[in-house]
């Protein structure tokens, strides 16, 4: 369970806990239940009360997707068994509460890797389906649900259904933010690897056009690809970036001493960020300095550098509770996608963010490939930009509303797993299959057993 929950004795005598997402905004109180068996999970769903319940994993969704004010929150991290690994065929059957970190620990020594990982290993498999997560390999491998062979779903009627791809329930659940039911177990197809190291190419792009040209021309050569953008750079260097792209290193790329143990999974963790950090640590000046250093620290061009999986995919996991650096006001992450052909919209948005001088040190651009069938799944073929911004920045809400308009006009959308502030009116334009989702929910869960702050806020 994320530490972003805070248990407080309650004057009503109920055991309520305040819960937030990873961005630490908009806390609400809920009854936290941690089932240890499928029966306990079923009982929790049955008894979750008038304000319903919502499953929660490791609390890495930035917004309010895994909160349920006044109701129940089912902490699924107690269901964390890896049931079976087919080391020949490359599949794993595990509980929904298993984290990608745990899967990497058990699978890498066997020569298998998770098919898709976001920027943190600390997400659960259930959460990965609920948000239909994507990673640096989306242009090649699609989102997480593409690699799911089946899952078991505990629905509002108390039934456990086996759900397979190609069915409406699968497509409603993949990206459905936990609102169709509680995922209990999942079967995932894995990615074979020869080593636990990454072979990484790094290059710098001088500005946004340079960056987009490089990505468009050469992305198909890399399984994994991502660009960090300096959104505080202005003028001719607006959108300057560092591209890091690569693939799993083959055995023969390793020096002799590393070939003895090519599949070891090593991670390192620094001390956690302290609880009490001053407000306003991340200002335009400090973030500007960081970005300047980060850009110039990166090599102009370097090929074939060997990096650990944790360094390549999950650098921030090395600092537990890094979200605390934004202080008690928290932060919002803004991630949107606009389709290919809408490059001008992307340029306009990047220019506006740069001109506004949003202090964002985490801004990432990548290209999405083919989308998957999840009705509320986020990725569509196009350009996606994600950035973190302190929530206390004056006028931020209105500014992001304006960006939403640009995104929606360009036929794009924002990512619900990261949202904490979208204007509900725009949702249907961004997610054209929203009505089908609502219809299925109305039929499957007529009493609204599965409810979250996100679903209340956006009317999902």
């Amino acid at each position: 369970m994320s530490a972003d929950t805070d248990s407080v004795p309650d004057v009503t005598g109920l055991d309520h806990t305040t819960v937030t997402g990873w961005g630490r905004t908009a806390p609400t109180a809920a009854r936290l239940i941690r089932p240890r068996t499928y029966e306990e999970a079923a009982a929790a769903v049955r008894d979750c009360g008038a304000r319903g319940g919502i499953p929660r994993g490791l609390g890495r969704a930035y917004g309010d997707a895994a909160q349920n004010a006044g109701g129940s929150v089912l902490d699924m991290t107690g269901l964390d068994r890896v049931h079976a690994i087919d080391a020949d065929g490359g599949t794993v059957l595990c509980d929904a509460g298993v984290s990608l970190h745990r899967l990497m620990e058990v699978l890498l020594p066997l020569g298998w890797f998770v098919p898709v990982t976001p920027g943190t290993r600390y997400v659960t498999v259930g959460g990965a389906i609920g948000a239909d997560i994507h990673g640096k390999n989306h242009h090649v491998s699609g989102s997480f649900s593409r690699h799911v062979l089946a899952f078991e779903l505990l629905t509002a009627d108390g039934e456990i259904r086996t759900v397979i791809p190609g069915t409406p329930l699968f497509d409603a659940t993949a990206g459905g933010m936990g609102l169709t039911g509680v995922i209990l177990t999942v079967t995932i197809r894995l990615q074979p690897v020869e080593t636990s190291l990454m072979s990484v190419d790094t290059e710098r792009a001088a500005n946004l056009d340079d960056l987009m040209a490089r990505l468009a021309a050469t992305d198909h050569r890399y399984r994994y690809s991502v660009a960090w953008i300096d959104l505080l750079a202005r003028g001719a260097s607006t959108g300057r970036a560092v591209l890091t792209r690569g693939d799993h290193a083959p055995l023969d790329a390793l020096p002799a001493r590393m070939r003895r143990d090519p599949l070891s999974f090593r991670t390192s963790r620094l001390p956690a960020a302290p609880c009490l950090l001053p407000e306003g640590l991340l200002t335009r000046t400090t973030v500007g300095l960081f970005n300047e250093l980060w850009y110039h620290k990166a090599p102009r061009a370097r090929a074939g550098q060997l990096q650990r999986i944790s360094a390549f995919f999950h650098p921030l996991d090395g600092v537990p509770h890094w979200n605390r650096v934004y202080g008690r006001g928290g932060f919002v992450q803004y991630q949107f996608v606009v389709g290919y052909g809408q490059e001008d919209a992307l340029r306009r948005i990047v220019r506006r963010i740069s001109e506004r001088r949003c202090p964002s040190f985490l801004a990432v651009l990548k290209r999405f490939g083919e989308s998957d069938p999840g009705w509320l799944s986020f990725p569509v073929p196009g350009w996606t930009l994600a950035l973190d911004i302190p929530a206390g920045l004056p006028g931020l809400g209105a500014f992001l509303d304006e960006l939403d308009e640009e995104v929606a006009t360009a036929g794009g959308r924002v990512y619900l797993a990261k949202d904490a502030r979208l204007r509900p009116e725009l949702l249907a334009a961004m997610y054209p299959r929203l009505d089908e989702f609502r219809e299925l929910r109305a039929e499957l869960d007529p009493h609204g057993v599965f409810t979250s702050d996100l679903s209340r806020r956006l009317g999902l």
Partner: protein, 251 residues
Amino acid sequence: MKDAFGLPQSLLVLGGTSEIALATARRLIARRTRTVWLAGRPSPALEEAAGQLRGLGADVHTVAFDALDPTSHDAVLGKVFAEGDIDMVLLAFGLLGDQARDERNPEAAVRVAQTNYTGAVSAGLVCARALQSQGHGSLVVMSSVAGERARRANFIYGSSKAGLDAFAQGLGDALHGTGVHVMVVRPGFVRTRMTADLPEAPLATTPEAVATAVELGLRRRSETVWVPGALRVVMAALRHLPRGVFRRLPI
């Protein structure tokens, strides 16, 4: 639900004709607020206020609410909460009274005290309980700098606001950690109908400025908001003045 910036989608105003409350409602409607409940004594002014807010695109309902009838609060406010979540309650009713007249007429003075304090205790507790069972929401209480230290010129009003302020602070502590946020707003002299006949005090402000400060306070999840902010320092100094000196101040 509130968004990441603390902005509510639904708003219940207690004291639905208050100029400060309506300025705040207008500002919040320009952001995220879509549903507004205006609670107050039925009057053309209440309906007119509702009409104005409807013109801004909000779905506005009026509710007959009388601060002086605490026995009715549970039923009246309960009905509002039964219609759906209320993300923010703005407790904005209050009487200024007429100090000179009220000193001579204890009944009138009691009416000020009952409206500003007793009525607020009752309505505040009813709303707090409802917000708590929702697990979220903000209760924004319109206090006043007059409650910070009683002045010769308006101690009847001031003492009622002092009671309200202390009540709201305590309620905020009681609700800490329940997902409910209580915010005490202490405006100085606000130019409204209520103060139209009074000589303007230093650091006078407007209902719009109070609305801006409320929005900022929601974003910061503040517990106390002074309008204008400079009053925090001024009042910190005034609070510690010896009585003999304070009494002689031309305020």
